[in-house]
């Protein structure tokens, strides 16, 4: 069996809240606070952080209709986060169930010698245009800008195992008007 890398998050697609793989054509969608609203009506104001986080399909329909993925928004400092609109707390208190889950599955068992994650725009070297993407590794103490390959988040090494989980929290801030997009990229080296 070949080694694989998958991207998951906890949400409820209708059958109960569970760690669910982001489907091949599914998208992550951040919006302002409030009910799901795709497009301009859900737009995050310029220079503000996301108020809602949803998983949507290729036609922009909400998939997390019963329970949304947890929204993590950067607080008043890089070390602070608001979880689902609550009062801000330390980033270090965010749990794995509140994060995106990157899973490297190895058959046979293998060790991870490098694991990185970043967001990019036109090319891998470029930050997303008009959008600041912040991220942290679960257990870490602060958000950091992860826009562009040079700013990739180091997700660390791990000993030989069948699966290697990495948990990542993300928050976004548009810096100009208009629809924003980016690509998330994870890379893992195994031996």
């Amino acid at each position: 069996m070949a080694n694989t890398l998958t991207f998951k998050t906890v949400y409820d697609p209708g059958g109960g809240s569970a760690l669910t793989e982001i489907g091949v054509t599914d998208k992550l969608y951040w919006q302002k606070a409030g009910a799901f609203a795709y497009g301009a009506t859900g737009a995050i104001p310029v220079n503000e952080y996301n108020g809602g986080f949803h998983i949507i399909d290729a036609s922009n329909n909400e998939l997390c209709t019963t329970a949304h993925a947890v929204n993590l928004a950067r607080g008043t400092a890089d070390g602070k986060v608001s979880i689902n609109g609550g009062e801000e707390v330390d980033v270090s208190t965010v749990t794995t169930a509140q994060c995106l889950n990157l899973v490297a599955s190895c058959s046979p068992n293998a060790e991870v010698t490098a694991f990185t994650f970043f967001a990019y725009g036109a090319t891998e070297a470029d930050a997303p245009a008009g959008l600041t993407v912040l991220g942290f590794k679960q257990g870490g103490s602060a958000f950091a800008d992860i826009g562009g390959s040079a700013k990739a988040l180091d997700l660390g090494t791990s000993a030989s195992a069948a699966t290697h989980d990495r948990y990542v929290g993300l928050s976004v801030k548009p810096t100009s008007n208009g629809a924003k997009t980016c690509t998330m990229k994870a890379s893992v080296t195994v031996v």
């Binding site: 991207f7 054509t25 490297a104 046979p108 068992n109 997009t181 998330m184 080296t189 031996v191």
Partner: protein, 129 residues
């Protein structure tokens, strides 16, 4: 039975040839490559060459007196525009020289060779096509 389409192969100085799927290298503690390293250490051997095979392509690297390592690189890209997730998988073989690491990489789109500093653990990523 390995058809050598998706695996690594190697030879040790005693003339034996190895494949990732050989039963003696299948242990729970670590990967077959790490077991080959452990076996070589136990028996006082070294690896002469190693080759990675994937998708009908192969790349062999000679040890030239240096340690060799084989592994894989996995990547996933998730587009926010709905272009779909893109997963890529590569096999690599690496020669650890004193002043550099030489990487040979094979994937679905081709084969590549890179050099990195000697402390680099992340496999360089081939360009997207």
């Amino acid at each position: 039975m390995c058809n050598h389409e998706d695996c690594w192969q190697a030879a040790t100085v005693d003339g034996r040839e190895w494949c990732q799927h050989d039963p003696p290298l299948q242990v729970a503690e670590h990967s077959p490559w790490r077991e080959l390293e452990a076996l070589s250490k136990r028996e006082g051997l070294s690896v002469l060459w190693a080759q990675v095979n994937l998708g009908g392509r192969f790349l062999r690297m000679e040890a030239e007196g240096c340690p060799l390592v084989c592994g894989e690189l996995l990547t996933q890209e998730t587009s926010m525009t709905g272009g779909g997730n893109v997963n890529r998988r590569y096999r690599w073989v690496r020669r650890d020289e004193l002043t550099r690491r030489v990487w040979g990489i094979v994937g679905a789109e081709g084969a590549w060779q890179y050099e990195t500093p000697p402390d680099c653990e992340a496999c360089p990523e081939p360009p997207m096509t």
